[in-house]
């Protein structure tokens, strides 16, 4: 079998030589970052026994400890539920004005998109630290952190779904003399609802994952047990925490993919 190499030569007078500066720059940036992060193969190899030691101490997992984890695990799910719901409540009124095709003025659209970007740009853990300071230690701070970050993400995706709708039905509603509310309820919502539900389920799944670590900064959930067991060197308990977290995350994953498959 004879092979032929089929590629399109880059346009422009330089041809393949155009790639040289890009390859050179990529190598330079990666090298610089490797030095900055002290990448070291030898350190990794010499550290392997320690990782094995750590894993060894985690075994066998302390299954008896799991009984104590039921309450924090439930709390984790509760944080994710209310965090998601409040995120939706915050995102809903904003998303119509943050969609290019529905927003009445360009500056409203651009302004709201920036607000959503800022909300999304701050990590939940940082938000949780702020809310712990504001409303005290406990799961409520976690709910608020997840709601605010989630609203930024949901608002953006809700708005993008609105931008992708077929505007023909909206024309038909306008031509029939329908008002703004009717155009949204009958023209926009039926078209965006499947995408919105998908985004919400994905957000819920993410929120479960996030709320398992919120406890590390005192914002409730199973993360608190995880971090305190490690501080007490009770690694068998840590292993139990990790298993419960894995079960939570996988269950959320499975549930949301099943539900997403149901909406068509």
């Amino acid at each position: 079998m004879s092979l032929q190499f089929v590629v399109t030569r880059p346009r422009g007078p330089l041809g393949w030589w155009i790639l040289i500066p890009f390859i050179g720059a990529s190598i330079a940036v990666l090298w610089w970052s490797a030095v900055g992060t002290k990448l070291s193969v030898s350190d990794f190899i010499s550290g392997l026994p320690w990782i094995a030691d750590f894993l060894g101490r985690m075994l066998p997992p302390n299954f008896a400890f799991m009984e104590k984890l039921i309450k924090p695990a439930v709390e984790t799910v509760q944080i994710a539920l209310w965090g998601t719901l409040l995120g939706i409540v915050l995102a809903l009124p904003v998303c119509f004005f943050a969609a290019r095709n529905l927003s009445p003025y360009a500056w409203v659209f651009h302004g709201l998109r920036q607000v959503l970007n800022v909300m999304r740009g701050i990590n939940e853990i940082i938000l949780a630290l702020i809310f712990v300071a504001a409303v005290g230690l406990g799961p409520f701070a976690g709910v608020l952190a997840i709601a605010l970050h989630g609203a930024g993400m949901l608002g953006k995706f809700f708005a993008e779904a609105i931008e992708e709708i077929d505007e023909g039905p909206l024309d038909a509603l306008r031509a029939a003399g329908a008002g703004t509310l009717q155009r949204i309820v009958f023209g926009v919502l039926p078209q965006v609802l499947p995408a919105w539900i998908g985004v919400v389920l994905y957000r819920f799944e993410t929120n479960i994952r996030v709320s398992t670590v919120l406890g590390m900064v005192g914002a409730g959930g199973i993360g608190f047990e995880l971090i305190s067991s490690m501080k007490l060197f009770a690694y068998e308990d840590t292993a139990a925490c990790v298993i419960v977290i894995l079960v939570l995350v996988l269950a959320a994953d499975l549930l949301s993919s099943k539900l997403r498959a149901m909406i068509r």
């Binding site: 038909a172 003399g177 329908a178 008002g179 703004t180 009958f186 023209g187 039926p190």
Partner: protein
């Protein structure tokens, strides 16, 4: 009676409509015939203000349109529209799509809660009967074929109980048999309710077959306005500049007579098929 006076529309330097003046009598079926890009869609969209004309007036029953929100609602209440791509809301039921035609008269809050007055639901169902789609009232719109979707589009327009109906290339994406069925339903149902129709077409044969009056549009100007019988080869050449084929007209006219008779039987057969 609807009067269009000196309607003009420009997009930048391009003049899409160069001062159109037309008046349409109640119940009249007028076909606007012209090539793609002649300004047919722009004309219709300027009449119901989906596009804002650069100049000119629309006068419905002696009342000129002023651009207030109230006038706009009134105008759109009286003037229904049918679109080339149907523009049904795909995920809603057929009945709800037809109820969209009633929206202008309904409470926004109640209708958003999916509560509709019985009388309006009755009108919607009657309009579905007029296009023989009553049996599909509960189907989702995207479960229908192209021709069926357009018949629902017609029912939605009928549900407005308008004085005037604009049909923008209603059969451009349908096959010939389906096209004829859809146009037949459009004409029949509008005759029943004495609704005047302004229907854009680019096919000469359908225009001659269904139009009671032909308005030839070319490059944004009316180049012919009269009965189908007056559409001579010369007129065709004015509407479609560069089309130099005498056979086109001959063929079109011979087909017209035959098809006018055939349409009646096709629609009867279709109705029988659906009953069975």
């Amino acid at each position: 009676m609807i009067e269009i006076r000196g309607l003009a529309k420009s997009y930048g330097a391009h003049q899409a409509l160069k001062g159109i003046t037309l008046s349409i009598r109640p119940g009249e079926f007028v076909v606007v015939l012209g090539p793609s890009g002649a300004g047919k869609s722009t004309l219709l969209r300027c009449i119901n203000r989906l596009a804002t004309p650069t100049a000119g007036d629309i006068v419905v029953d002696g009342t000129p349109f002023r651009s207030s929100a109230r006038d706009l609602r009134l105008l759109r209440r009286n003037v229904a529209m049918i679109f080339q791509q149907h523009n049904l809301v795909k995920r809603l039921s057929v009945l709800k799509n037809v109820l969209v035609g009633r929206m202008a008269d309904l409470s926004p809050i109640l209708s958003s809660l999916q509560l509709f007055p019985e009388a309006d639901v009755k009108i919607a169902r009657h309009c579905l009967e007029q296009v023989a789609m009553a049996h599909k009232a509960d189907s989702r719109a995207d479960a229908l074929s192209g021709g069926e979707q357009q018949r629902v589009g017609i029912a939605r327009a009928l549900a407005q109980q308008p004085k005037f109906m604009l049909a923008d290339e209603p059969v451009a994406s349908l096959d010939p048999k389906t096209s004829r069925i859809v146009l037949s339903y459009l004409k029949k149902s509008c005759k029943e309710s004495n609704i005047a129709v302004l229907c854009n077409l680019h096919q000469i044969d359908y225009a001659l077959e269904f139009g009671e009056r032909i308005v030839g549009l070319s490059a944004g100007e009316v180049v012919y306005d009269g009965p189908p019988s007056g559409v001579s080869g010369d007129v065709i050449r004015r509407i479609y500049p560069g089309l130099d084929d005498p056979n086109v007209l001959d063929a079109a006219q011979r087909l017209t007579e035959r098809r006018r008779a055939a349409a009646e039987s096709v629609i009867a057969a279709e109705a029988a098929e659906e009953r069975a």
